[in-house]
Amino acid sequence: MTKAAALLLAGGLALSACASDEEPSGSAGGDGGGSSDELKVGVAYDTGGRGDRSFNDSAIAGVEAAIAEHGGEVRDLSPNSDASNRADLLTQLADEGYNPVIAVGFAYGDIIGDVAEQYPDTTFAIVDSSVAELGQDNLVGLLFAEEQGSFLAGVAAATKTTTDHVGFVGGVETPLIQKFEAGFVAGAQAVKPEIVIDRQYISPAGDFSGFNDPARGQIVAQGMFDAGADVVYHAAGGSGIGVFQAAAASNGRAIGVDSDQYNTVDDPALQAVIMTSMLKRVDNAVQEFLDSFVEGNVQGGEDVVYDLESEGVGLSTTGGFIDDIQDQIDQYRQQIVDGEIEVPTTP
């Protein structure tokens, strides 16, 4: 019996290893079918694929907006479950004649330099990874000043808290998410220097489960609410829904990330706790990149940083929860734009 149970367990693990949560790319082809100089955009997603209601969806929204303006078609590909085929996604898109090719997520940073070198006639863009040191003039990095947006999230949290105790839940302890943490902490401390800030990551570097584990997101956030925090900011991708649930269960507030999460959660009970979201306008960045590609003035080999000034990052106001403190937020925003406040990027 124990052996049978063990085998079932083993089979289950094997199956779950096979399973991937990617969405079928479906009717991705815009089927422009027009002249050959039409835009043919290739998109390679980060793990999670299309339909993550966050990062990947934001990127494709930007592509679709650009296509609505310039015409053309898009082909989007999701990586396999362990994302070991990232290089194949890019080379296949380039082989099929898609140009430009957009890689969504810093995980492509390791290989995109080599791929760009192999396909000198194709223009590549990568979201969230710097290309300045790769020296490829057909490659553009689209970066965001997440720490600046998170600073404003920290300001909003510290202004709204009644217990002088806030929290930060990170998905995976990577340098990218640490930028969110650093900005949030700096922002909260700028308003209230003595504020208590709980900071916790769901999984350590190298274990990417923390971006897609709502149950653990809920446990971590619940711990913070139980300890007395009343506003928790998450930068945890798909785990964020757990943070919202914890906030709803404890009459606390939560701050969303990447997209306007007030609009992406369906549950009214959860909408009620989403005070604001730190917007990371991947869609704007992608659209602008495509605009400049169409106009023929892509600056290859360089990074474009989207910050508060260019409205690449910011706070959402849907729900009206932060309307009353908008003045304070705008003051800090202006100080960052003017360079009076230098937001740290590492905690």
């Binding site: 094997a14 199956l15 350590p204």
Partner: protein, 401 residues
């Protein structure tokens, strides 16, 4: 039983499983109003130009190498009725330590690569040995301890990567160990393609391929042609009978787990030595669990595992062309999932058929195909009725008391 018949029986289960999986997947696709034959055509299409075809072949082979090693590692333990679910943790920990050691030293050519391989095998073996020691001294089920050690291994690997072994500069978006110098890198094998007149695309075939083949041959010889292999098989089929005939059950558990762990330590090396040259936060994960499926598919035999690994790698490659052709990539996931389920059922069927034919044969009873071949528990099921109901684990405990 003639050799032909034996091959027929051993091929029966996996072929049946793949056919059943294809039929089920076709039905699912038809229900989703996707033409299954068009899908299979896309999966089999390796591209138009010779360069594309060779690239596709290289992609499949490069993916199959780690899967083969993972299947092998799982199978060695399976043959003895041990469920080494800890292959995942064993290879992750082995790879990061091997990467760090490889980056820290400078040795001439092959010596450098040999050192990395030895370190990886040792770390994998040591991590697996914890499971074995717990089992023989305290009677802890290897399933539980190896799963739990996976979490510890992952945590440890993360700590090592972000702490002492961190080689990437501060603020880099991908945390990595320092790069292994050129002497510790294994070049590609694409010169083979040009030598036989094929195209030589930029994607390199991993230089680890011959090493993996050697490992496979050594394991096959060890399992089938040596006293150790016989003891292992006997312990798997019936621990009590093996103990009675003088096999040291405790020693076998430790030796088997050491061997399984050592092979598990190799899983990350094709990627590490051939492509990434460093362990990063996004180093391929989950190969240890896929290895379970591959071992099941290959019925724990090295040749079968090689085919299983190639099949899984082939399915994996077709994800990209399927998406490009606008078919749902989840088709591949469905096929892989149904294969794993079908293989468990088919192995059990094959085992029963083999036993029935052996019973009919009377004088020359062939043993059940292979211990732990994915049936519902060879040790307890294949044991004669005289065995106490407590089963394998307690038998071994009893032996040491």
């Amino acid at each position: 039983m003639s050799a032909l018949r034996r091959i027929g029986v051993s091929l029966f289960a996996p072929v049946l499983a793949v056919v059943v999986a294809l039929v089920i997947s076709s039905l699912v696709m038809a229900a989703l109003q996707v033409n299954p034959f068009a899908v299979y055509e896309v999966m089999l299409d390796f591209g138009d130009s010779p360069s594309q075809q060779v690239t596709a072949l290289v992609v499949v082979l490069n993916r199959a190498i780690p899967l083969f090693l993972a299947g092998l590692a799982v199978a060695i333990a399976f043959r003895m009725g041990l469920f080494n679910i800890g292959v995942e943790g064993q290879y992750r920990l082995a790879t990061i330590i091997a990467a760090a050691v490889g980056a820290a030293v400078a040795l001439p050519g092959w010596l450098h690569i040999l050192l990395i391989i030895v370190v990886a095998m040792s770390v994998g073996a040591i991590w697996a040995a914890i499971v074995a020691v717990l089992k023989v001294t305290r009677g802890v089920s290897e399933v539980i301890s190896s799963i739990m050690l996976n979490f510890i291994a992952l945590g440890l690997a993360s700590y090592l990567l972000t702490g002492p072994f961190r080689g990437s500069e501060e603020g880099a978006s991908i945390i990595a160990t320092a790069e292994i110098p050129a002497s510790g890198q294994l070049g590609g094998l694409n010169s083979i393609f040009s030598a036989i007149g094929l195209a030589s695309p930029p994607r390199q075939l991993y230089g680890f391929l011959p090493i993996a083949i050697v490992v496979g041959v050594v394991i096959a010889v060890l399992l089938n042609r040596t006293r150790f292999g016989f003891d292992l098989k006997a312990s798997g089929l019936s621990p009590s009978a093996a103990t009675a005939s003088g096999v040291d059950a405790r020693g076998m558990v430790i030796k088997t787990m050491l061997l399984s762990g050592a092979v598990a330590g190799l899983i990350g090396l094709p990627d590490l030595l051939g492509q990434t040259h460093r362990y990063t936060t996004d180093f391929t994960a989950g190969l240890g669990f896929l290895g379970i499926a591959v071992a099941l598919l290959g019925r724990n035999k090295p040749v079968g595992i090689a085919f299983g690994a190639l099949l899984f790698a082939f399915l994996d490659r077709s994800l990209v062309p399927l998406q490009i052709a606008d078919y749902p990539a989840s088709v591949v996931t469905i096929i892989q999932g149904t294969i794993v389920l079908a293989v468990v059922v088919a192995n059990e069927l094959a085992r029963r058929i083999a036993r029935r034919s052996a019973e009919r044969g009377g004088a020359a009873p062939a043993p059940a195909p292979v211990a732990g071949d994915g049936g519902t528990g060879p040790a307890s099921q294949a044991a004669p009725p005289t065995t106490p109901p407590s089963g394998g684990t307690d038998q071994r405990q009893g032996a040491q008391a």
